[in-house]
Symmetry: C2
Subunit: 208 residues, 2 copies
């Protein structure tokens, strides 16, 4: 078989299918844990066909990860972009990020793989073109929330407070004080917002 491409049909369809279907594999097992044969199997192609669309495994991986990041990044930036006092934007962002981390486990794992990547080129590419814009937005919000603090550190702390909880999700159930409702994104978002609000409100109280 091999459904022949009708002339004029967008040529990108297969390529995007590969990107979409390979992402969960890379999320689960990482770059070295996934073979070109594995990718070919989920897409329903032979290994050789992948090399028509991508020069090598490295390129396929990089494109698949970047593709996922670009989609999610838009969602997250939207949460930060709207109007409202800084507190409202923070709450909206923390809630949205928590929901995404809870729902979209593959995305969370891709973030973790990128942070562990030892290929400098690959990591820098993703950091610059994918993380950066989002971080800029969080950074700006942080400096609005408290102009007296190091906005870079505060921004990283906000992200870390949310993301780390979900990174440890699988091991949390063996730890003391664990209760299932802690996995719910609203519960975590509330915990994080309260922590930050009290912390920054304390500064206002002193300064104002």
């Amino acid at each position: 078989m091999g459904n022949q491409m009708i002339k004029g049909t967008p040529k990108r369809k297969t390529r995007e299918e590969i990107l979409e279907l390979s992402a969960p594999l890379f999320a689960q097992h990482g770059y070295y844990g996934v073979s070109m044969r594995d990718v070919a199997a989920v897409v329903g192609l032979t290994q050789a066909a992948l090399y028509y669309h991508f020069s090598d495994k490295d390129q396929l991986y990089l494109d698949a990860v970047a593709y996922q990041f670009r989609e999610r990044e838009l969602t997250l930036k939207d949460l930060l972009a709207g109007n409202g006092v800084p507190w409202e934007r923070l709450e909206r962002f923390v809630a949205g990020l928590a929901r995404m981390m809870a729902t979209d486990k593959d995305f969370l794992r891709l973030i973790q793989w990128v942070l562990l990547d030892t290929d400098e080129t690959r990591q820098n590419t993703l950091a610059k073109y994918v993380f950066r814009d989002l971080f800029v937005a969080v950074h700006d919000l942080a400096s609005e929330l408290d102009p007296h603090q190091d906005a870079h550190l505060l921004a990283m702390s906000i992200l870390g407070l949310v993301i780390f909880h979900f990174q440890t999700g699988a091991t949390r159930k063996f730890m003391p004080g664990h209760r299932p409702h802690q996995h719910r994104p609203e519960v975590l978002a509330r915990h994080v917002c309260e922590l930050l609000k009290r912390s920054l409100a304390a500064v206002d109280g002193e300064a104002g």
Copy 2:
């Protein structure tokens, strides 16, 4: 050649050398990124010799990681165990953890690999026998710091505030507001302690 073992000599020496020397490899490249050949090469043995000491690659990896964790865990628990008011113990712990994360990059990476592990048995083993004791200590401290809060969530937040900053260490330099001194463990520890102190002090102020 092959230096013959004298009877009575502790048999464990080679085994422990393998554990020590393979850990940095696994820290850098993860389970799938390291071959038995790689391990053999750094130890100065042939591949086959490894199978005298370990039944398979899985066992070698598990033992190597557990070995590293046990060592570090003792150091961290010591920081928490001493006397002093809760604040002092928190500051000591945060400073010590930050210093360890900054110094011992391999250990930080091993933590990240464990969090990404999809082998449930392996992850549960490490979580139960290695993370758990440390978490218990942080959990207890958290409930002393603020009895009105969810100690489980607070403990995780304390750990996340420190660890996440170092996880993102490699990509941070492309983000706005970055300055080199932020990588210094004392600077981060101070940031984290101030954040927590203000947050929990705010509660005291309201409650007391």
